[in-house]
C-alpha cells in the first residue's frame, strides 16, 4: 500500500473551505470509517457492562422487570386488551422493540455532547457518534431476544411464517431510532435543554405506542394519525411477526414511510449543523 502511494507522483488534492447551506452526505467516506463505528459501539457496550455484577443480564432484566410490572398493573388490574394472548408475552413482545428504541434514542441524543473530547481532537464523520450509540443498543436487543424465546416455549406460542417479517421490523425500528437519535443529538449540542426534554418525551412517547395495549384498541378513525409515530407500526409489526398474528398493514405502511421521511430529515438537519458542533460543544 505504501509502495503504491509513493508510486503516484502527487496524491489527489483535497480542498477545504467554508461550506454553506445543505451539505450532501459523503457516503464513501462514511463507508471508510465503518470500522470506527463498530469500535465506538463496542466501546460503549464493553464499558457499560465492565463494572456491573450482572453484566449483560441487565439487557434482559430491564424489559423483564417492566413486563412483570405491566402485567400486574395493566394485565391484572386494568385488563387491557391483549389480542387474546397471555399478557406477559404480549407485553414483552412490545417491550423488546420499544426498549431498544427508547435506550437508543436516549443514548444517541447525549452521544455528541459526551464525545466532546473526541470531536474537538480528531476528525471523522460526526454522524458516526449517534450511529454507534444506536448500534450498541442492538446488542442488548439481541440478548433480550433470549427471554422471548423462553416465553414462547412457556406459553406454547408456535412460530409462523409471519416471523419472516421480523428482520424488516427490526430494520424499521433501527431507522426510526437513527432518525430521532441524529436529530436529538444535533439539537442537544446546540440546546442543552434537550438533556432534560428527551427522557421525559421518551416516557410519554411510550403511551403513543402499542406497547402495553393492542393497536386494535385505537379507534379506526384515529389510526392514520396514530401511525405517523413510526414506532406504532414497528411495534405492531414486531409483535405480529413474533406471535404469529397479522399486523395492521395500513399502520405498518404509514409508520414505515414516516420512519424513512424522518431519517431523511434527521440526516439532512445533522449535516447542516454538523460543521458548527466543534465550535459550540
Amino acid at each position: 500500500m505504501t509502495a503504491a502511494a509513493s508510486a503516484v507522483a502527487t496524491p489527489p488534492v483535497r480542498v477545504y473551505r467554508r461550506r454553506r447551506g445543505w451539505i450532501a452526505v459523503e457516503w464513501r467516506e462514511l463507508w471508510e470509517f465503518r470500522e470506527l463505528l463498530l469500535f465506538l459501539a463496542w466501546r460503549d457496550i464493553t464499558v457499560r457492562y465492565k463494572q456491573t455484577a450482572l453484566g449483560a443480564a441487565w439487557a434482559v432484566l430491564q424489559p423483564a422487570l417492566t413486563m412483570v410490572v405491566f402485567t400486574l398493573l395493566f394485565g391484572r388490574l386494568a385488563h387491557l386488551p391483549s389480542d387474546g394472548l397471555p399478557y406477559p408475552i404480549f407485553v414483552y413482545a412490545g417491550l423488546l422493540p420499544w426498549t431498544f428504541f427508547a435506550n437508543a434514542v436516549t443514548s444517541s441524543s447525549n452521544s455528541l455532547v459526551n464525545s466532546a473530547n473526541l470531536i474537538t481532537k480528531v476528525y471523522f464523520p460526526r454522524v458516526i457518534v449517534p450511529l454507534a450509540a444506536v448500534a450498541a443498543g442492538l446488542v442488548d436487543l439481541a440478548v433480550a431476544f433470549l427471554l422471548l424465546g423462553v416465553l414462547l416455549l412457556w406459553y406454547h406460542v408456535p412460530l409462523t411464517p409471519m416471523l419472516s417479517l421480523l428482520p424488516l421490523m427490526v430494520i424499521g425500528t433501527v431507522v426510526a431510532a437513527v432518525a430521532v437519535g441524529t436529530i436529538l443529538s444535533a439539537l442537544t449540542v446546540t440546546y442543552r435543554d434537550f438533556r432534560y426534554v428527551v427522557p421525559f418525551t421518551v416516557q410519554l412517547w411510550m403511551y403513543a405506542t402499542p406497547v402495553m395495549y393492542a393497536t386494535a384498541a385505537v379507534p379506526v378513525r384515529w389510526r392514520l394519525w396514530y401511525a405517523i409515530n413510526p414506532m406504532a407500526g414497528m411495534t405492531d409489526g414486531f409483535r405480529a411477526a413474533v406471535l404469529g398474528r397479522a399486523p395492521l398493514w395500513p399502520v405498518v405502511g404509514i409508520s414505515s414511510l414516516s420512519a424513512i421521511i424522518a431519517l431523511g430529515v434527521g440526516i439532512a438537519y445533522f449535516q447542516r449543523v454538523e460543521r458548527r458542533f466543534v465550535d459550540i460543544v
Partner: protein
C-alpha cells in the same frame, strides 16, 4: 516541480466573542433571540450601523503559506496566537471562516496524546480504539500491535485497565500508537510536553525518523529546543497573523523577542497571558528589571547579572520568595535560582507588594541572547510562574579588557572559569 503538500491561502477563522457564555446554549434564549431580532436590527439601525451587535474575534487572520512534501515545519507563537486553530483547520476538525486549504496526501493529526482513551478499557483495548480513531484499519493495528507495545514499554500491563496506569505509562502507550501511524502528512500539537525526559527524547527521535522518511511534518511546540532540532523552518504566529516564515533559529529569535521592546530593561508582567493555569491567584509577578552596569542596555561577558523582581500579594504571604531561571534560545534551562533555598524570603501582607533582587556575580555565560523565566513562591510553593518573561543580551565584549570575544560556533553557552597549564 512538485506540488506543495499543504497550500494555505488567505485563511481566517472568526469566533463570535462570548459564544460560549451567551450563545444559543438554551432553547429559551434561541427563541427570545429570534423574536427579538427585528427589534435589535431596528435598534442597531438607529445607532447608525447594520451590524452593531457582537464583534467577531479573528483567531486567525488572513494567513497564507505553502509546505513542500517532505518538509518539517515548526509553528510557534504565544498562547492564543492561533497555532491550535490552524492545526484544527488542517485536520478538518473545524471549518475555515474564509480562505482555502489544499492538502495532498493522507493526514494524521495528533492534537492530544491518547484521544479517546477510556479509563475502564485495558491497554490492549485502548490501542485498538485509539488507533481506529486516528484513522488506522483494524488489520493495520493488528499487524503493528507488537511493535506498538514494544515501543510503549508497558507489555506487563496490557490487560490492566488504563485507569490503573501511572501517567507515564499512559502517555507512553498513547504516543506509541500515534508513532506507528504511516501518514504522508503528520500534524503534531505539543504532545511532547508530557512524559519523562527519556521518553521525550525517544518521541523526538521517532518524529525525526518520520521527517527523514520523506513525510511532511507540522509541529507546534513551546519547546524551542525541540523546534530547532526537528524543523529547519518555522512559522511564527502573532495575534492570528503570520509574523514570520523562515529559518527556525530566526523564528525562535523573533518569538523570544515578542512583546518585548528591543533592548528593553523593564518588563511589565502583571497582565501577561502566558502564565500557567491557576498560577497568579495568590501572588503575581508585576515587573522584572535588569540592571546592567554603567546604564548600558545589555550585559558584557563576565559582568554580574543583576536584576530585581517586584510582585503583588493577593493573599498574605508569610515567607515569599522569587525564582529565576535562565534559558538559552532553544528553551534549554541553563541555571535556576530560588531565593527561598538561600533563606531569602519576606513576609508580605495581602494587597501589598515586595521587591527581591538577585545578583549572579559571575554568570559564566558566553555572548548571546538568553531568556529569563520568573516565579513567585511562598514557603517554597510555586504561586506564579511566567515562562520566558524577559530576555537579555550579553555583548561579545569582555567586561575587564573591553576586547571583542566571539565564542566559537557550537562552543556551548557556558564560559566557566578555568586554569590551563602546559604540564
Amino acid at each position: 516541480m512538485t506540488e506543495p503538500a499543504i497550500q494555505v491561502e488567505h485563511l481566517s477563522k472568526a469566533y463570535t466573542l462570548g459564544v460560549r457564555d451567551r450563545g444559543y446554549t438554551t432553547l429559551r434564549e434561541a427563541l427570545t433571540s429570534t423574536l427579538a431580532a427585528p427589534v435589535r436590527r431596528l435598534a442597531s439601525l438607529a445607532r447608525g450601523g447594520l451590524d452593531g451587535g457582537s464583534q467577531p474575534f479573528l483567531a486567525l487572520d488572513d494567513v497564507s503559506f505553502e509546505i513542500a512534501p517532505g518538509e518539517s515545519v515548526g509553528i510557534i507563537g504565544r498562547n492564543g496566537a492561533g497555532k491550535s486553530t490552524i492545526l484544527k483547520m488542517l485536520s478538518r476538525i473545524t471549518e475555515p471562516s474564509s480562505g482555502t486549504i489544499a492538502i495532498r496526501g493522507r493526514v494524521a493529526s495528533l492534537l492530544e496524546v491518547g484521544t479517546g482513551f477510556h479509563p475502564e478499557l485495558t491497554g490492549r483495548e485502548n490501542v485498538y480504539l485509539n488507533g481506529s480513531l486516528l484513522g488506522m484499519r483494524r488489520a493495520e493495528i493488528a499487524r503493528k500491535f507488537d511493535e506498538i507495545v514494544a515501543f510503549s514499554e508497558v507489555e506487563a500491563f496490557l490487560d490492566t485497565p488504563v485507569k490503573r496506569y501511572s501517567s507515564g505509562m499512559y502517555v507512553r502507550l498513547a504516543f506509541a500508537v500515534a508513532a506507528h501511524l504511516e501518514p504522508e502528512i503528520l500534524i503534531v500539537d505539543e504532545v511532547l510536553a508530557v512524559g519523562d525526559a527519556a521518553f521525550q527524547q525517544k518521541c523526538l527521535g521517532k518524529m525525526q525518523d518520520v521527517g527523514r522518511g520523506g513525510r511532511t511534518v507540522l509541529f507546534v511546540s513551546h519547546n524551542m529546543a525541540a523546534i530547532t532540532r526537528l524543523c529547519p523552518r518555522t512559522l511564527l504566529l502573532r495575534h492570528g497573523r503570520l509574523a514570520f516564515d523562515g529559518p527556525a533559529l530566526e523564528g525562535v529569535h523573533a518569538y523570544l523577542a515578542d512583546g518585548v521592546a528591543p533592548g528593553g530593561l523593564e518588563w511589565e508582567l502583571a497582565s501577561v497571558a502566558r502564565r500557567l493555569d491557576a498560577y497568579g491567584e495568590r501572588a503575581r509577578v508585576r515587573a522584572l528589571t535588569l540592571e546592567p552596569l554603567d546604564g548600558r542596555r545589555s550585559f558584557r561577558v563576565g559582568e554580574p547579572l543583576r536584576l530585581r523582581v517586584t510582585f503583588d500579594a493577593r493573599a498574605a504571604l508569610p515567607s515569599a520568595g522569587i525564582g529565576i531561571g535562565i534559558d538559552d534560545l532553544y528553551g534549554n534551562r541553563l541555571a535556576t535560582f530560588n531565593s527561598h533555598e538561600r533563606g531569602v524570603v519576606t513576609a508580605v501582607d495581602r494587597d501589598a507588594s515586595a521587591t527581591i533582587a538577585l545578583a549572579v556575580p559571575c554568570p559564566s555565560l558566553h555572548a548571546g541572547r538568553y531568556s529569563l523565566s520568573c516565579a513567585v513562591t511562598d514557603g517554597g510553593q510555586l504561586l506564579d510562574f511566567v515562562p520566558q518573561a524577559a530576555s537579555f543580551e550579553i555583548e561579545p565584549i569582555d567586561l575587564e579588557t573591553g576586547q571583542h570575544v566571539e565564542p566559537s560556533p557550537g562552543a556551548g553557552p557556558m564560559a566557566l572559569p578555568c586554569v590551563w597549564t602546559v604540564a
